[in-house]
Symmetry: C2
Subunit: 142 residues, 2 copies
């Protein structure tokens, strides 16, 4: 099993690229939500680049996005699984895909590229607040 | 295919029970996050009851929780899928399980029980804020 620690090659530097990693779905909603989150982060102009990538079913794939970023000369990439909690996908599947991309063709492009794996969303009062809104909307028939 | 509209029997009333529906996982984290969210909502004392239920792999199941709530005399239940976005699970699998519970043994207990199906979290600035925190933690090595 590939642990997330295997692909966490942390450090400091300028020009961060953020990759929001979605689960992927046969329906359009996962991709739509990821793209909307990406857009809202991009307009804040905190990071040099903000991309979405999907673990499965949708494109672009994780490997495609990492390859593009490396080709574009990005030296520091933060990959964040946009999942509520850790699970088999965030602990095994996604790190495995990141590792393959990192160790494979990508290394040929830039050995000095740094890849940092961020944590999923987790339990937080901002999620609580969002849940309360959704309950209220449901009860009021919105 | 069972649509969510089939189990959305909306209306007004007192004494709401909220059921946070999690995906379920072979690892403990999904259940831990759901239970922590439940605890944080419960202590706000907005709702009469707040429960967690899992679509698969963890207990209690959706049917178990709905049955318990009906037996306890709850007349208005809001079931909320704690998922980032709609997908096959929230549009087909969970509504199907809710419908089975509602149309089966549960109806014997109380035909006047109202079941409202809420929306998943969706794209929201609170999720954006949480993502930015996770990126910052990852970059600073927290």
């Amino acid at each position: 099993m590939v642990k997330k620690e295997d692909i966490c090659l942390c450090g400091d530097g300028e020009g961060i690229a953020v990759v929001l990693i979605g689960h992927g779905s046969t329906l359009p909603y996962n991709k739509e939500v990821l793209e909307e989150l990406r857009r809202r982060i991009e307009i804040r102009e905190i990071f040099k680049v903000v991309k979405v990538a999907f673990m499965q079913l949708n494109s672009p794939s994780i490997e495609e996005v990492l390859r593009t970023l490396a080709k574009d000369g990005m030296k520091k990439i933060v990959a964040l699984p946009v999942f509520l909690a850790d699970g088999a996908h965030t602990i095994e599947d996604i790190p495995k895909k990141l590792k393959v991309a990192f160790e494979g063709a990508w290394k040929e492009i830039g050995e000095d590229v740094e890849l940092i794996y961020a944590k999923p969303l987790g339990a937080d009062d901002r999620i609580v607040s969002l849940i309360l809104d959704r309950v209220n909307e449901a009860v009021s028939g919105e």
